[in-house]
């Protein structure tokens, strides 16, 4: 599913954000990647999304080798995963329904399929009745659920969440986490990147901790492996 082999990412002029990272995440895992700011979490995320290319080593995600992938294949790779951001990244002038439909439309899916799938996904995230609302008319938790619904439209094998609870209050954070857990229970791999250790301890099967671009601990992996 996700494989990092000796991955190093250096930014110009001379800042190493990720150093010699080795990591394997299996299908169906629920993994938290934690660390303070500057630990290299964002770079790890960008490497998985192929927003950045590894300076050294090999990154494999969903069967794509991201070190060798051709520019034109990147969009197709991204369709195999769903991403959720801290700031939701919803389009403000589109309704919840339209925001989700947008993600399908721009990947060439026809209207019939969109009409069938969007209400289904809205139902999964518990927003069946709020499809017609604009993001500004929704609470932070609801907005994040719309973003999550959007991440799920392509029926991805992997969902990556970047600080998904960072902008919402604690009670609602739990709702989002429950939702991610439910998604994980259907066999989808979930990777949550966060600085909230407490949340991680409560939900994760596996916690990977990063510090200064290096993995310092990896606990709870399948087979009880501890580095």
């Amino acid at each position: 599913m996700i494989d990092f082999k000796n991955v190093t990412k250096t930014y110009e002029p001379n800042i190493t954000a990720v150093r010699d990272m080795n990591l394997h995440i299996d299908k169906g895992e629920f993994v938290f990647v934690i660390g303070h700011s500057g630990a290299g979490k964002s770079t790890f995320l960008k490497l998985m999304l192929r927003e950045e290319k590894a300076t050294k080593g090999e990154v494999m995600v969903n069967g794509y080798n991201l070190t060798k992938i051709k520019e034109k294949d990147i969009p197709y790779m991204r369709r195999t995963l769903g991403v959720v951001f801290q700031d939701f990244r919803l389009i403000p002038n589109l309704t919840a329904y339209e925001n989700i439909a947008f993600a399908m439309r721009v990947t060439n899916i026809d209207e019939k399929e969109i009409k069938r799938r969007v209400p289904y996904i809205l139902n999964i995230v518990g927003l069946a009745k709020k499809g017609g609302k604009l993001p500004t008319q929704l609470s932070g938790g609801e907005q994040q659920r719309v973003a999550l619904a959007r991440a799920l439209v392509h029926n991805p094998d992997l969902v990556i969440a970047d600080e998904p609870t960072g902008n919402i209050d604690p009670a609602l954070s739990l709702e989002i986490m429950e939702l991610l857990k439910a998604i994980n229970s259907t066999g989808t791999t979930v990777v949550v990147v966060t600085h909230e250790h407490e949340l991680a301890k409560r939900y994760a099967q596996r916690i990977i901790e990063m510090r200064k671009g290096v993995i310092v601990s990896d606990t709870g992996a399948k087979g009880g492996e501890v580095i």
């Binding site: 999304l49 927003e51 520019e71 034109k72 969009p75 197709y76 790779m77 991204r78 369709r79 991403v83 990244r89 389009i91 947008f102 993600a103 439309r105 721009v106 990947t107 060439n108 026809d110 209207e111 959007r150 439209v153 392509h154």
Partner: protein, 302 residues
């Protein structure tokens, strides 16, 4: 690409054009101005060309024949001119015909020349030759002067030189103006679209994350550019057509003197409109398409 996607992209492009209306109007304005200048330059160049060709056709090379030339030499000349690839047409002017012409120029004073008729006629017989290509004037004249029985060849070299220069200047100047205006229009369109792209950078980044291809992301902006180009081309076509038709009818019916003479070789609107319409549209599309592609590049790197 599916039809529904195509419809979506087209709608988005139109939406950008309308949503960004102030800038759209501004860029249509600038592009139209450029296109009008292009239209004026091109129609001017085409007409100068037509005028030069007309003047060129009026220019004759005159081959004066020696008075004592044998009948055979004159016949041989005739044969040579007939088969010469550079000659478009020629006429033989006998000594008698030359005198008649001279007398008709003199009008009421023609009788002065009456004593030169017959044996006393000092005017030589000649061939008046029109050439196909004025640039070959000198070589051809030289060839003529080497024919048997030729006294001398009169060549309008200077005038031909002026005409050729005029033709070249219009050609190169027209081309330079066209290139500059094309560049200006492209920059203007690309700036307008850059504003739309900037306003929608959030959407673009979301599109990238959900796996939209670069082509798909770019298309609405290219459509926006093409719309600007098309609207400008249409306005220009109407404006230039109206102007040309008015000028043509004025010059061919009401003008006098030199301007009226220009009218005889002015290209009629009907033979220009097709080329003009297609030309403007192509120009508009090229700058619209290229302009929007330029402005997109930076934002596709996510």
């Amino acid at each position: 690409m599916k039809f529904s996607s195509f419809k979506y992209l087209f709608r988005q492009g139109l939406h950008n054009f309308v949503g960004n209306r102030l800038m759209s109007v501004a860029s249509v304005g600038v592009v139209t101005s450029c296109l009008i200048l292009v239209g004026v330059c091109v129609s001017l160049a085409l007409n100068v060309n037509s005028f030069v060709e007309y003047l060129g056709a009026q220019n004759e090379v005159i081959i004066y024949i020696k008075d004592d030339a044998a009948r055979e030499s004159i016949d041989a000349m005739d044969e040579k001119l007939k088969s010469d690839a550079d000659v478009s047409e020629y006429t033989f002017v006998s000594k008698e015909r030359a005198l008649e012409e001279q007398m008709s120029y003199m009008g009421q004073y023609a009788s002065i020349l009456s004593s030169y008729q017959g044996e006393n006629n000092p005017l030589p017989a000649s061939y008046r030759v029109h050439l196909k290509d004025l640039t070959r004037l000198e070589q051809v004249s030289l060839r003529f002067s080497q024919m048997d029985g030729v006294d001398y060849v009169s060549t309008p070299t200077e005038l031909a030189g002026v005409l050729i220069t005029l033709k070249n200047v219009t050609y190169y100047a027209g081309f330079a103006v066209l290139a500059v205006l094309m560049l200006v229009s492209m920059v203007v369109i690309s700036n307008t679209i850059r504003l739309t792209v900037f306003a929608r950078r959030r959407e673009i980044s979301i599109m990238k994350y959900v796996g939209a291809t670069n082509g798909f992301i770019q298309l609405p902006f290219v459509v926006e550019g093409l719309i600007i180009g098309t609207v400008s081309a249409l306005i220009t076509f109407i404006a230039i057509s109206a102007g040309y038709i008015y000028l043509y009818s004025y010059i061919t019916t009401q003008a006098s003197g030199f301007i009226a003479m220009l009218g005889t070789c002015m290209i009629p609107y009907t033979s220009l409109r097709f080329v003009m319409g297609i030309g403007f549209l192509l120009f508009g599309w090229i700058i619209g398409g290229v302009g929007s592609a330029i402005s997109m590049r930076k934002y596709l790197k996510v």
